[in-house]
Amino acid sequence: MANLIAILAGVLCLFMGVVVISAKNPMHAVIALVANFVGLGVLFLLLHAEFLAVIEVIVYAGAVMVLFLFVVALLMAGTRAPQESRGKNLPGQVPLALAVTGVFAALVVFALAVRTVLVAPPPSTTDFGSITNFGRALFTTYLLPFELTALVLLAAVIGVVFLARER
């Protein structure tokens, strides 16, 4: 059962990723990316990352993609919507990009196939990745990185307000 769910979620992720990069309309790409994040959330749940699965759906599929949606609606709406110019690529741009990333993906998959130690994972302890354990680690051992993430977000907020101010 877990196998079936994992296969479905993985196929959903990959298919929606292809839809994102091939969509003509950015709005369709946003919707596909939301579906991709939901699939990733399912995979996180299967890997015993409970808190991260919730974060993936709430923060990514919720907050970040709503931000994308606002910007798509702001830039792409109306009759004078900016368009992506077609058929003016650099020479060999698409074949070269596909070849380079194809070689990369093939190398990674080959390396993983050779390294058979990863095939058999250790049996998970029952409470690994539970929200209790995650919270305890976050607020004791990793308290300083947690506080620094607040600083990163503050810097981002100040930067956005600075860039968006009326001139």
């Binding site: 990069i21 790409a29 996180f44 991260l52 990863l118 956005v160």
Partner: protein
């Protein structure tokens, strides 16, 4: 039953490759940005898979930090895209040639 870690890593590698193709092939800045998000999340997936493999909760903490960094990056990046492309006819990074040598 436990699912093999390798399968998750293969999905992660393929997702990263899809995102890289998107950045190299597309010219719409918003779709390039979404392809970058795909790559962030591919790396997150492999971090979570390795965290389970080695029973290390620090991998989860690292993914949390990555998510926060990605959210900050999206906020800054989108406001820059809005400022640059608001008064242009084409949403196309090829038209940004002000610094052409």
């Amino acid at each position: 039953m436990t699912l093999p870690t390798v399968d998750f890593l293969v999905v992660s590698a393929l997702l990263f490759a899809i995102g890289a193709v998107g950045v190299m092939v597309r010219k719409n800045p918003l779709i390039m940005f979404m392809a970058i998000e795909l790559m962030w999340n591919a790396v997150n997936l492999s971090l979570v898979a390795f965290a389970r493999q080695f029973q290390a909760i620090s991998g989860h903490i690292f993914v949390f930090v990555v998510v926060v960094a990605a959210a900050a990056e999206v906020a800054i990046g989108l406001i820059i895209i809005v400022l640059v492309f608001r008064h242009r006819d084409q949403a196309d990074v090829d038209t940004l040639n002000a610094m052409k040598g």
